[in-house]
Symmetry: C3
Amino acid sequence: MIETTVMADQAAAGELFQQIQQFYARQMRLLDTGAAEEWADTFTEDGVFHQNVAEPLTGRANIAVASRKRVDQLVGDGVTRRHWLGMLEVDPPGSDGVVRTRYYAISMATPRGAGARPQITASTVAEDTLVRHDGVWLVRHRLVTHDGTTA
Amino acid sequence: MIETTVMADQAAAGELFQQIQQFYARQMRLLDTGAAEEWADTFTEDGVFHQNVAEPLTGRANIAVASRKRVDQLVGDGVTRRHWLGMLEVDPPGSDGVVRTRYYAISMATPRGAGARPQITASTVAEDTLVRHDGVWLVRHRLVTHDGTTA
Amino acid sequence: MIETTVMADQAAAGELFQQIQQFYARQMRLLDTGAAEEWADTFTEDGVFHQNVAEPLTGRANIAVASRKRVDQLVGDGVTRRHWLGMLEVDPPGSDGVVRTRYYAISMATPRGAGARPQITASTVAEDTLVRHDGVWLVRHRLVTHDGTTA
């Protein structure tokens, strides 16, 4: 019995990690393909997106507006942006089902045109609080700290 | 019974994701270490490798020839190339067992010599169709779209 | 019965991969946040950290001293360093429980100050031998080969 339980716990941990990885892959794809409103919908209704280099954005509506503005600016500049996450750590869920994660993230920008080289525009570390709602994961709080901006 | 089935499904999804991740790690290592023919063997016999910046390559033989040429060129130039994949999404297998994936990929090049810095030479997004054959995964179709090359 | 065993094996493989991924994420975070001594503790007491561009470091104490020196240097220079691992392959454990892995790793450096761009400072391939001790994974041997440094 104990072995079965441990095995189930391990399978659950592996499954959770995999779910969260794919959540982030989809979330970043939405942002990078310019789907600013769908990207905002991956936060809770009252979700907070806080980058240490700007004022925190609170709520899906504000996140969507700010992201739409940035996305349109990049389209105007002819720049393709890609966000990569790595070195992900997923804590076991709390008794309330809330999951905390930590990861590195970079953004890359590629200008339009033959021979244009991608540039890494930012290196960051991030901490998320994720909740499960109607069978999908949502970000309740995200804090992104940009390398080079703190003492 | 239902709980057991869900648990098995989740374990299966976690296992599939992990299998595919390792498939890509090995596949990229083969290419990056110059094993062009073994790399070509990770495609199906009639597999298609299509990069939007070149004519599609169809079949293992053509993929091997083109890859060998490129690998030899890099060796001649004294450049080490590394392909990184990230932000992987693996769809659940269809009833035919076919698996579709999406991911980001970059290539990096490091020239020989002390103090030579790696450069990111391309940022891309890719879509694969994978099939299971004799216990291993193979690429049936790959479409790689390079950032900066589309309108 | 056979199906159950296969499922358990697959779940075990998925779980191992996920454990190792998180081990590396934590290990790199320790190094990158300057916790040189805790980083050294992720090696076995007699662990070897060998980079092909330097003399091998043997034992936690030596690894800690060398890492502390490097970390302090980076702090003095106002540089944030991040290590990313990718393209991870985890072999099935041997009968002795020892696990071998292969992966790519890059280091990135971001200088302090507005508009400072992250630079990739090294691209490497690494091979680890990992052992399980008191419920945690430890590195017994690590060989890191830097791109551009071999013939």
